[in-house]
């Protein structure tokens, strides 16, 4: 077991939402924890630490990953996108705007992860069927909404951007 005196820290530079963050971290640190505690971006949520809930979803070179179960040191040299990087300045991403306008946000704890999965889905498939949306978001648990308004908002965004 590591203690403060015998920790080995790695100097790592993480590229998050287009900004380079130098951090000194142990090899065992997960990406979600480093994003939240070292980089200071707490929009990425932790709901299970076991790839079960999807609240920690971020994009790594455009691919959605559960950042709770990804070593932060492995993310060096890759482009990390978190919920904080989704809007264009003050202009919300269409997914953000639509999920809000259509009632797909309640407690909001799953929302960042859900939006990152949806972003990745629409990047690779701008015209998804309903089933394809369901598959794309099936790794993100939501306890509040019953998913209907989330599904509708992703479908509406697909129509809007295609």
């Amino acid at each position: 077991m590591s203690t403060p005196s015998n920790r080995t820290l790695n100097a790592v530079e993480l590229q998050v939402n287009g900004v380079a963050y130098p951090v000194a971290i142990e090899t065992s640190r997960n990406l979600s924890g480093v994003l939240r505690d070292e980089v200071g971006l707490t929009g990425t949520k932790e709901g299970c630490d076991d790839c079960e809930c999807g609240a920690c979803m971020v994009l790594l070179d455009g691919q959605p990953i559960n950042s709770c179960s990804y070593l932060a040191v492995q993310a060096q040299g890759r482009e990390i996108t978190t919920i904080e990087g989704l809007a264009d300045g003050d202009d919300l991403h269409p997914l953000q705007r639509n999920i809000l306008a259509m009632g797909g946000v309640q407690c909001g704890f799953c929302t960042p992860g859900m939006l990152m999965s949806a972003t990745a889905l629409l990047e690779r498939n701008p015209t998804p069927t309903e089933d394809e949306i369901k598959i794309g978001l099936s790794g993100n648990l939501c306890r509040c909404t019953g998913y209907a308004k989330i599904l509708d908002s992703v479908a509406a965004t697909a129509v809007e951007i295609s």
């Binding site: 077991m1 403060p4 505690d37 707490t42 949520k45 299970c48 309640q106 407690c107 648990l141 998913y147």
Partner: protein, 761 residues
């Protein structure tokens, strides 16, 4: 498009939530904060023989280690004060807290836990409800008779509370019935399972402590800190940042006193964040397992003439807020039916399981599942269509229900017809599909609640409420009420909520009470400001205050809208520099609603402004595997007036989906000692988006004499009542066999189809 371009029903906390800038409790970081961890019993029933924390205290980087010896010796909890912050002489469930540590890091906190010497002699676990109430059974609380008892809480041995409903002469009526049907239903325990695991951060400044915590009811959390740590209310401030869901599981106080005590001892801020395993095993808010025996007699016309019931509820080790559960369960087993002769006995039983407590519509999904499944069994026994049987027996406006309550305007009959029509009741379906129907009900509760409203000199407005926003949108709706009173746009109003240091007390987000109670207080507080503005406008416009109308940000004289003055200017002209409103619901006279309860009345013997619902579900069963899928849900609800339609539909869709989870997959499994075997989200399966069915929602909006603002009743728990029963009735219709255990897992459905007993297999 910028956020400010958003239309009317956009929630005020929404932009924070979609951009990741909103702070939840686990997102809080205070300078110098330490990491908290708990030492759990992990054994379910044992006498402590040794607890030594000195080695843990000696570890560098450990700032505090606390046990029962380090906090006031106080037992607490409404009903029966059976609880302490830390285990004292014995432990009674696996998640009981033995000690708490605060250390410089996660690793060091874990080292401290590992260094605690905790030795015990195990006792046989008490986990079987029927054995627990048998003569001579060992007691979970041998000293229960020495505990302080509050309210109408009859208790004896392992029966923590006991309630009964008695009307007419059930025994005699049953003996004269044309047909009698008896059923036994057994429901497993389940969980609220918010996606946000709970978190607490505490910081002392002198003799005052501020606790940031993921509670649904900040004032209850404050009261618990005050009671357990012997602090006055003016030195404890609870702030709940954004709440990542609650579903009842975060009602009340939980771990706030432990973290406040740690922070005081460590002289540093302390932060606790639960793992998902802890979120499953440690809170005192599990949905209780139940055994429900029901017998119903009907006459030759298919009218119910008598019902008897015997309900056992698994309370677990300690009473949380569960004192009312026996009575609530009895109401559900009586059901929204006209039944002239009733005898239902309902007991909440201590066991060595995790404590039970409020989870969205406590006791309802299980009780309703049992009684609505039983209702279909009765219909089958007399050869009547389940829809027709309900048409004949449900309560309608003016009828007298099973506890003697006479109903004002209610819309259950309309709900029944709307849901059945929407689903195409009676239409042919493929062999592996069927429809199932269920009706349900849930009360609206009156509770004292307060609100302040302030109009500042610049005309900007704050509404300060003791309500909590756990996600439902109900607090967001409060500013709509204030905006209408003041004639301004709701976006001109800022809400202050979830802060006991700022707001008057109230029930937070619990019991579907936000709009019903806090809404009324907010309306009244805003109206006080409106009245003062009207006085100022009357002077300004040389008119009578009674003739002043507030609309579109202006005060004008009724009938002559051109004679007006902007409200902003009036606010600035107030001699006090600001205009204040302060209101409560305490002086509202509520109609007396009488019901019949013989024992243990905790306010559930009759229901104020009751909400009604009917769910019809379409289910497809894989006849090789027993896997059931809900394809469609047709929900019709009488929750009175709907004020915020987007939020209301969201509550139905979310509640129904939670109900499907509880129906099919969400059941806690225990080992023989009473430890949870599936305390993780892969093993305890929630519905995913791929599982979620198409949900069609209709609202029956009828005038309700004793409802809340604008005729609104409660809403957020009601959709979590009827779904499980409808799913069972659909599965049974599809396979020709009935399921008697909840959840109705694939194994259980498969076993029923093949006449196999899982216990024997």
């Amino acid at each position: 498009m910028a956020v400010t371009d958003m239309p009317e029903f956009i929630r005020a906390d929404g932009p924070d939530k979609v951009t990741g800038t909103g702070r939840y409790t686990a997102d809080m970081t205070l300078t110098g904060q330490l990491v908290a961890k708990f030492k759990y019993a992990e054994v379910t029933h044992a006498i402590i023989t040794k607890l030594d924390v000195e080695a843990a205290r000696a570890i560098p980087g450990v700032f505090a280690v606390l046990t029962a010896a380090d906090v006031p010796d106080i037992r607490f909890t409404y009903g029966i004060a059976d609880r302490t912050l830390f285990a004292t002489d014995r432990v009674r469930f696996e998640g009981e807290i033995v000690a708490a540590v605060a250390a410089i890091s996660d690793d060091v906190a874990q080292q401290a836990l590992d260094a605690i010497v905790f030795e015990y002699d195990e006792l046989p676990p008490i986990v079987d409800l029927e054995a627990a109430i048998a003569d001579g059974a060992a007691l979970v609380h041998p000293d229960v008779d020495s505990y302080v008892v509050t309210g109408d809480t009859p208790h004896s041995g392992n029966v923590a509370t006991h309630s009964s409903i008695a009307m007419g002469n059930a025994e005699e009526a049953m003996s004269n019935a044309a047909t009698v049907v008896t059923s036994r239903y057994v429901a497993d325990a389940s969980h609220a399972t918010p996606i946000e695991p709970r978190a607490v951060v505490a910081q002392w400044e002198g003799e005052r402590v501020t606790v940031y915590t993921s509670t649904q009811v900040p004032f209850d959390a404050r009261n618990l800190v005050c009671e357990a740590l012997e602090l006055p209310a003016n030195r404890v401030r609870i702030i709940a940042p954004h709440l990542g869901g609650g579903f009842g599981g975060k009602c009340g106080g939980h771990f706030e006193p432990h973290i406040a005590a740690l922070a005081r001892a460590a002289k540093r801020p302390v932060k606790l964040v639960f793992s998902r395993w802890e979120e499953f095993i440690a809170p005192d808010r599990r949905r209780e397992g139940m055994i429900i025996d029901i017998t119903t007699g009907v006459d030759a016309d298919g009218k119910i003439v008598a019902r008897t019931g015997n309900i056992l509820l698994d309370n677990g080790a300690y009473l949380a807020d569960s004192a009312f559960f026996p009575q609530a369960a009895a109401m559900h087993v009586a059901g929204p039916y006209v039944i002239p002769n009733v005898f239902i006995d309902s007991r909440l039983v201590y066991t060595n399981h995790q404590p039970s407590g409020s989870v969205r519509a406590p006791t309802a999904p299980q009780g309703c599942w049992a009684v609505e499944s039983h209702t279909d069994e009765i219909a089958a026994a007399i050869g009547m269509d389940p829809l027709d049987f309900r048409r004949k027996n449900i309560v309608t406006t003016g009828s007298v229900g099973a506890v003697g309550q006479t109903y004002d305007e209610i819309g259950l009959d309309q709900c029944l017809e709307l849901a059945a029509e929407s689903a195409g009741w009676g239409n042919d379906l493929p062999d592996d599909e069927a429809l199932g129907i269920s009706v349900g009900w849930w009360p609206s509760f009156h509770s004292p609640a307060g609100a302040y409203a302030k109009m500042h000199g610049d005309g900007s407005i704050q509404v300060i409420t003791g309500a909590s926003e756990c996600g439902t949108g109900s607090v967001m709706t409060l500013r709509m009420l204030a905006a209408d009173e003041l004639g301004v746009d709701q976006t001109d109003i800022e809400l202050v909520y979830q802060d006991t240091g700022a707001a008057p007390a109230g029930p937070g987000s619990s019991g579907s009470m936000t709009l019903f109670n806090h809404g009324r207080a907010v309306e009244r507080a805003a109206r006080q400001i409106a009245d003062q503005i009207k006085e100022l406008a009357a002077t300004e416009l040389e008119a009578n205050a009674a003739d002043i109308v507030l609309a579109d940000g202006k005060a004008s004289v009724a009938g002559t809208p051109t004679v007006s003055v902007p409200i902003v200017e009036l606010a600035g002209s107030s001699p006090d520099g600001e205009i204040l409103g302060s209101a409560t619901t305490e002086d509202i006279e509520w109609p007396e609603i009488k019901g019949s309860t013989c024992l243990g009345d905790q306010g559930f013997s009759s229901w104020m402004a009751p909400q009604f619902s009917c769910h019809v579900v379409r289910v497809k069963v894989d006849k090789d595997t027993g896997v059931s899928r809900v394809l469609e849900v047709h929900a019709a609800h009488d929750s009175g007036t709907i004020i915020n339609p987007i939020a209301a539909h969201g509550q139905i869709e979310g509640g129904v989906t939670m109900g499907i989870g509880q129906a099919l997959t969400e059941g806690t499994q225990y080992d023989d000692a009473g430890r949870q075997r599936n305390a993780g989200l892969l093993e305890y399966k929630l519905q995913t988006i791929a599982d979620a069915p198409k949900i069609t929602t209709q609202f029956v909006e009828i005038y309700t004499p004793n409802a809340g603002p604008r005729g609104a009743k409660g809403l957020a728990e009601a959709p979590n009542v009827a779904t499980c029963g409808a799913v069972n009735n659909a599965i049974s219709a599809a396979i020709g066999k009935r399921i008697y255990q909840l959840p109705m897992t694939a194994e259980r459905v498969w076993a029923a189809m093949n006449d196999i007993s899982l216990e024997e297999a």
